[in-house]
């Protein structure tokens, strides 16, 4: 299960409110096996044809749920992630944005001793096109079956990159939105490793952003990869943030700039796209060069 999601995935949705229900239906219509929703206090009900349970553990025991998709509101989202982890759900995908940073820091610490993999939070989720498995909120129409994988911190830029690929005649194996928050479950480097090992993926689009050092860590991994990577860093022209103290800058230092990230990616052998409108055309050029298109 290199994309963490495939035809054997059984998805439980935590937080079965309006957004959870709407996306559950889209996932099911697409072909994804959505086995249950979890809303404490509504266990035993059925909503839109989905059985509802009070706890994640019940959904695991009864339906063998092995992927959790979380729409729980931010104040309770860390709790929801930890609940899925305690039920040994192997793949936990958290869509929720605006989770307090200190909550995520504790979640991350707990997950460091766990076999579960967290994707997100503040992400669009994962889609595996070949398996018609969707655990997320991405628009399906823009995707086309193929062998390029997309990894991105930003949600809308996943769609943008996929759309450009499709228009350039390049299909996708799937996409992984790793999330835009400072603390996330799966890094860009770890997501690259998933796609490097995915037999259905031949090349990868990586979309990073200014701030932090995650792209440099990704670049370190790219050095040992066999598959070609086309990368874009959003925010090259963004004005310096109106930050208050300097502590954040000391942690990342000059490494947080687009130039530093682009340079690290180039040095690692990735093709760096500077114009966001050229992600598709640059990937086409790379595929042709490698004899993959």
């Amino acid at each position: 299960m290199s994309l963490l999601l495939d035809e054997n995935s059984k998805v439980v949705i935590q937080g079965f409110g309006a957004a959870g229900q709407r996306e559950a239906i889209i996932c099911r219509d697409y072909g994804t096996n959505v086995v249950a929703g979890v809303t404490p206090g509504k266990g035993g009900q059925e909503i839109e044809g989905f059985p509802i349970r009070n706890t994640v553990q019940e959904a695991v025991d009864e339906f063998d749920a092995n992927v959790s998709l979380i729409f729980v509101p931010a104040p309770f989202a860390a709790d929801a992630i930890l609940e899925a982890n305690s039920a040994d759900v192997p793949v936990i995908i958290c869509i929720t944005e605006n989770i307090p940073v200190q909550d995520m820091m504790r979640v991350k610490r707990v997950l460091s001793n766990s076999d579960s993999t967290l994707i997100g939070p503040n992400c669009p989720g994962i889609i595996n096109i070949g398996a018609r498995a969707r655990a997320g909120i991405m628009p399906i129409d823009v995707y086309m079956d193929g062998n390029v994988g997309v990894i991105s911190r930003s949600g809308t830029l996943v769609y943008e990159a996929v759309d450009q690929l499709t228009k350039a005649g390049i299909g996708q194996s799937g996409s992984i939105g790793v999330g835009g928050d400072p603390i996330i479950g799966t890094s860009q480097a770890e997501a690259l490793a998933l796609l490097e090992n995915d037999p259905n993926t031949a090349a990868i689009v990586l979309i990073g952003e200014i701030g932090g050092t995650a792209e440099q860590e990704a670049a370190e991994y790219i050095k040992i990869m066999n598959k070609p990577v086309v990368a874009f860093i959003a925010g090259a022209t963004a004005p310096p943030g109106r930050r208050m103290g300097h502590a954040g800058a000391i942690i990342a230092g000059a490494a947080g700039t687009a130039e530093a990230k682009q340079q690290a990616l180039r040095d690692a052998g990735a093709t760096v796209v500077e114009n966001p409108g050229e992600i598709g055309s640059q990937m086409l050029a790379v595929l042709k060069e490698q004899g993959l298109a």
């Binding site: 940073v101 909120i137 809308t156 759309d163 200014i210 300097h246 942690i251």
Partner: protein, 386 residues
């Protein structure tokens, strides 16, 4: 959410951090009375959400209460311009009047979250009062760090290691460790995103004090930090940013160029700025409407963009996911018909319900420039101005 220096010091003091004696004044008369209470020399400090206040004329020493009256009169009501504020500056409605301390040593202390480590980190240096970024770059060995393991929390040895590392031994060691512990505790318990004390001062009379303080609270945690949320000073935030927040239509950022941008998602917002720059233009602002899903929200957003006098063209770049492009299109049509965006308007829609969205625009009879993709949209926006 940023706190003013005086708010940060009150918060720190409530955790037992020693701070200079001082009070806030909103009038010159109050400043004079506080100066009399303190006695001797005082420092008058403008309260505004920016660093480098001294260079902007916002921090001055008064030798007498009468001088405190005069200086406070000059500072209260000023627009404080620093390299961080931009040319418009920030309004100053009150000053902090503090005892002037006699400095023997200046140190640096901060607590922040290191995202890549997913832990809080305490940063300290003997080189306080300086540009700490420069110190970190040129002499990394002068920077001390202690990471706080979220599983077991902050430990006493960490404060001791930092205090001794800062050269604070002997009689200063105990108050120094206490100060470091108290600052760290205040950061952790209030969902801090940054607590920065620059400088921590050792006075000639052997005290150790937080002489300045910058404190910022994680916006995402304000729901459980209600007392601190009440400290927000809206006068320090731009009107249009407040307008966007109050209307619940997302995040507005003012920039220096002349193309107004309506986008969804922070990444797409940044990439749109990049594309405009690549096409030879500059954005005047952007409003990230996130997943706003009603024509009314789009109209309100376009009104905020359209009424910015710097905006000479409007670029709508939306990739619908949760946000539906037909709803966005209806909002654009309504805003145009209401005369809210008289500027040339370039629209690029993609994603959810894009056929419906484009059909609405086609049938509207409005004069809109349509773009099929990102680069074309940016080019059209730039050429609409030139």
């Amino acid at each position: 959410m940023k706190l003013h220096e005086y708010q940060a010091k009150q918060l720190l003091a409530s955790y037992g951090v020693p701070v200079p004696e001082g009070k806030v004044a909103t009038t010159p008369e109050e400043a004079q009375i506080i100066a009399e209470e303190i006695g001797g020399r005082v420092v008058i400090k403008a309260q505004a959400h920016t660093g480098a206040r001294g260079k902007g004329g916002g921090v001055k020493v008064a030798e007498t209460p009468a001088e405190a009256f005069k200086i406070a009169g000059e500072i209260i009501g000023m627009q404080l311009v620093t390299k961080q504020t931009g040319p418009a500056g920030l309004p100053v409605s009150f000053v902090l009047v503090e005892e002037a301390i006699s400095i023997e040593r200046e140190l640096y202390l901060s607590v922040a979250i290191d995202g890549s480590m997913a832990m809080p980190v305490i940063i300290a240096s003997q080189e306080g009062g300086m540009d700490i970024e420069e110190v970190a770059e040129q002499r990394p060995e002068a920077i001390l760090k202690q990471y706080i393991d979220p599983a077991c929390g902050f430990q006493g040895y960490q404060a001791r290691a930092l205090a001794f590392g800062l050269g604070l031994s002997g009689e200063l060691n105990r108050p120094a460790t206490a100060l470091i512990e108290a600052v760290t505790k205040s950061f952790l318990e209030t969902d801090g995103s940054i607590a920065e004390i620059n400088p921590v001062v050792v006075t000639t009379d052997g005290r150790i004090l937080a002489a300045d303080a910058k404190f910022s609270i994680d916006d995402s945690a304000l729901f459980r930090q209600k007392n601190l949320a009440d400290l927000r000073d809206r006068s320090q935030e731009a009107d249009k940013e407040l307008e966007a927040q109050d209307a619940g239509i997302g995040n507005y950022i003012k920039l220096d160029g002349n193309i107004g941008c309506l986008v969804n998602g922070a990444g797409l917002a940044m990439a749109t700025l990049d594309a405009i720059k690549m096409a030879g233009g500059d954005a005047a602002n952007f409003l990230d409407i996130g997943t706003a899903n009603s024509p009314e929200a789009v109209v309100a957003a376009l009104k905020i963009i359209g009424t910015d006098p710097d905006v000479k063209a409007v670029l709508v770049n939306i990739f619908g996911g949760l946000a539906r492009t037909d709803i966005i299109a209806q909002g654009i049509i309504d805003a145009k018909n209401q005369g809210l965006i008289p500027q040339p308007t370039i629209v690029r829609l993609a994603g959810s319900n894009v056929n419906e969205g484009n059909a609405l625009l086609d049938n509207s009879g409005l004069d809109l420039v349509r773009a099929a993709d990102f680069a074309e949209a940016a080019k059209s926006a730039v050429s609409a101005i030139s």
